[in-house]
């Protein structure tokens, strides 16, 4: 009896602050709409846009910061802090005209000085090294008038606007001396607070220059353990979570809408062309004939996903050519090609897979099973992510690896430059003189159409030579509570929270 009283008392004590708190937020009436978004990792690297490296950090900071330009959901660049821009005839000077009345979250207006400071800081001209490698091409940043700024380049670069739209080139106030812990930007949401390993709280920015956000308060809840995501969603602790697997979506309660998009990457078994037998085109082609992509999709994601045949994903509509039918599954042909290449009894190799990416591990198992049919033994080697980065990506010490490669910026070159034989990021050691010749023409092409044609030729070259065993652009699933809608997919790693709204709003 006494025990029960104590329990009741304890409950009262804990409930009082809860009631008091809800009363507080109730004061604002209908305006205090909120959403809790689950994220897989804390924003640990830095809240300074010029220092943020993790894709998971950048996709959230997209809501807080803006550059002169920014990407929209169709993959085009739209003006943000700048109203418009023009390029000089020689392609060396980019003039940006600032938009009137753009305010920082601290209430101050954006000035040309802030822009100059931001671009110079982002380009590594004032200290820390730049995260955007092509920014080393910037010669100087000149303030022309109070609303115009010129960026002068050493050499012309057609992709320059895409780099300007990168989150790492966001505009921040010059007066803020602690951008890494006190983020101030111009985006639709402003930063309120962060509890490490727990949550990040954002609030709608009322003086935003563009279409304002719909939801007043956003809480980003850190859920590092993949196994508890489903429980958090079903239990109502989280309203939204992006990048779920098919299995996770199947276990969700009925009050969630499952939205399907694309991850915007190319999942493939990347082959190291510097090791035998992958220096032989016939072997690569044989493997591509032996792998049944539809079956991989069927096994790993219930058939969801978009088969691709080269290093470009469908969301880059401008550049994409559908080459997914280049190697229809044909075991006989695969065996013939292997025999011609001198491996009539098959061979043995290992596929290195980072152990923290379950979908890649699953795909590797299916492919290993399929290759057995042509006598090829593919062992799977799981390695830690850091080991993968150092041994496979940087060290190029591997035979084959199953991974998804995405684009660092909104340009076709971000997907294709890594296959030029002397490119520093050519981790597959792809060495094809035709490809190198073609790639050079990108820089001499005069019109956009001409350039797009070359990009398409480059993709065909990769497909013809079966540079890698191309699989798919993986399907991405977002779970959103049925109280909300308005989620949009971007062709990049971005979560646009400003467009999400309550259904009755």
């Amino acid at each position: 009896m006494i025990k029960r009283k104590i329990v009741t008392l304890a409950m009262c004590v804990t409930l009082i602050p809860a009631v008091a708190l809800s009363a507080c937020s109730g004061d604002k009436g209908d305006e205090s709409s909120k959403i809790v978004v689950g994220i897989p990792q804390d924003l640990e690297d830095s809240l300074d846009p010029h220092e943020a490296v993790a894709a998971g950090t950048k996709e959230i900071l997209f809501n807080v910061y803006e550059g002169l330009l920014k990407p929209d959901e169709t993959g085009n660049l739209v003006p943000a802090v700048a109203k418009e821009y023009s390029v000089s005839d020689d392609g060396l000077v980019y003039s940006f005209v600032l938009r009137d009345g753009v305010k920082f979250h601290n209430g101050k207006e954006v000035t040309a000085e802030d822009v100059k400071y931001s671009i110079e800081k982002s380009a590594g001209m004032t200290g820390a090294e730049s995260l955007i490698a092509p920014f080393s091409n910037i010669k100087e940043v000149n303030v022309i008038s109070k609303d115009q700024i010129d960026i002068v380049l050493e050499e012309s670069d057609i992709d320059f606007p895409a780099y300007i739209a990168n989150l790492n080139a966001s505009i921040i106030p010059k007066s803020n001396n602690k951008p890494s812990t006190n983020p101030i930007g111009t985006g639709p949401y402003m930063y309120v607070s962060r509890s490490p390993q727990e949550n990040i709280i954002l609030k709608k920015f009322d003086s935003y220059w563009g279409t304002p956000a719909n939801i007043e308060n956003v809480t980003l809840k850190v859920i590092p353990n993949a196994d508890s995501i489903v429980m958090n969603l079903n239990g109502g602790a989280v309203d939204m979570f992006a990048r779920l697997t098919v299995t996770q979506t199947k276990q969700l309660a009925k009050n969630f809408n499952i939205l399907e998009g694309e991850m915007n990457l190319v999942q493939a078994v990347y082959l190291n062309h510097a090791v035998k037998p992958f220096d032989n085109v016939d072997v690569c082609r044989a493997l591509s004939y032996a792998v049944d992509v539809d079956n991989v999709l069927e096994m790993t994601s219930d058939g969801k996903g978009f088969p691709v045949g080269s290093s470009m994903f469908p969301a880059f509509k401008k550049y994409y050519v559908d080459l997914s039918d280049s190697y229809p599954t044909d075991m006989e042909k695969a065996k013939e090609l292997l025999a011609e290449a001198g491996y009539p009894d098959g061979f043995k190799f290992s596929i290195t897979v980072p152990s923290n990416y379950q979908p890649h591990i699953e795909a590797a198992q299916v492919i290993s099973q399929q290759l057995k049919q042509i006598g090829v033994t593919a062992d799977i080697k799981l390695v830690e992510w850091n080991t993968w980065l150092s041994d496979v990506y940087a060290g190029r010490n591997y035979e084959a690896t199953l991974i998804g490669v995405d684009a660092a910026s909104l340009t076709a070159t971000a997907m294709l430059d890594r296959f030029v034989s002397d490119a520093p990021n050519n981790f597959t050691n792809y060495n094809n003189s035709e490809y190198d010749e073609l790639y050079k023409k990108v820089y001499t092409a005069k019109t956009d159409d001409e350039r797009i044609e070359i990009y398409k030729e480059l993709q065909k070259n990769l497909a013809d030579n079966a540079a890698n065993i191309y699989i798919q652009d993986m399907a991405e699933f977002v779970a959103l509570s049925d109280k909300y809608d308005g989620y949009v997919f971007y062709p990049m790693y971005i979560q646009d929270l400003a467009k999400i709204r309550l259904k009755d709003q």
């Binding site: 096994m299 099973q369 080697k381 799981l382």
Partner: protein, 271 residues
């Protein structure tokens, strides 16, 4: 006859229950390996997450692989790893223990301090270090775990040798002119078995758990090969959809460990 057995059972029930469980598990594994119509790695898109039926007595996993077949081949892998680990641990441990215990002196001092250093690390952590040196894979797991298991056996054997080396039968052997090696491995070693046997069985148990934990963490046996830890780690993702997957795997581990620990206790009691 019956009464005699009941009497012996009552005196040491652990031993007999342990034997019963272990034999049951081994028979099940053999049945799965010898008589199952499926290949443990064969995938079947049509049988994804198939439920319990007469053709799949435990159902299927996310690739449509027969769970019973995979479980038995997985248990066989786990037992093989445990067996290899113990073989290395007991083999090398006995040799080190015998020499250090019998001779003492500087060799003892150096080897035992080295032993203490290895013992000071948590075993899984140490195995992780070895895995990162050797690389992963079934045989490398066996070697890594084997090295980790050496020190504890070395200590047990050493203390037994120290106890026995001045006993009368050893002295007599020495007087008869027996060489040191003969005294160590023909005369003393058989007398350490009463202590060594139960600790071997318990060590076997630890090896099963160590393999399961390492594979669960993804650094042990590599897919698609099955092992109990590997399967448990796969099953985790489908806990709500296909609970049988995790439950069957977990129960198998529990059963193996229970059987061997009862066996170990029984042997100790018998000794």
């Amino acid at each position: 006859m019956m009464r005699a057995f009941v009497f012996r059972f009552k005196k040491n029930p652990e031993l007999y229950i342990g034997i019963l469980i272990t034999v049951f598990v081994i028979v099940l594994i053999l049945a799965g390996i010898l008589f199952s119509p499926y290949d443990p790695d064969e995938m079947d898109a049509g049988a994804k997450f198939a439920g319990v039926s007469s053709s799949h007595i435990m159902g299927c996993d996310n690739f449509g692989r027969d769970l019973f077949t995979r479980l038995t081949s997985g248990a066989a892998t786990t037992l093989l790893v445990a067996l290899g680990t113990i073989a290395i641990g007991v083999g090398v441990g006995t040799v080190i223990g015998a020499f250090t215990g019998y001779y003492g002196g500087a060799v003892d001092e150096v080897l035992m301090r080295f032993n203490d250093a290895v013992l000071a690390f948590p075993s899984i952590l140490l195995a992780l270090v070895f895995i990162s040196i050797f690389g992963s894979g079934t045989w490398k797991v066996i070697i890594s775990l084997g090295i980790v298991f050496v020190p504890s056996f070395a200590r047990i054997v050493r203390s037994e040798f120290m106890r026995c080396k001045n006993l009368d039968y050893v002295r007599s052997a020495r007087l008869m002119g027996a060489k040191d090696l003969r005294i160590m491995f023909v005369h003393i070693l058989p007398n350490t078995l009463t202590v060594l046997m139960p600790s071997t069985v318990i060590g076997f148990n630890n090896a099963v758990l160590a393999e399961a934990s390492m594979s669960f963490l993804g650094i042990g046996v590599q897919p698609p090969q099955s092992s109990l830890g590997r399967m448990l780690s796969d099953a985790q993702a489908f806990l709500f959809m296909s609970p049988a997957y995790a439950v069957c795997t977990g129960c198998t581990i529990a059963l193996i460990v229970l059987g061997f620990s009862l066996l170990g206790d029984g042997l100790k009691k018998n000794a």
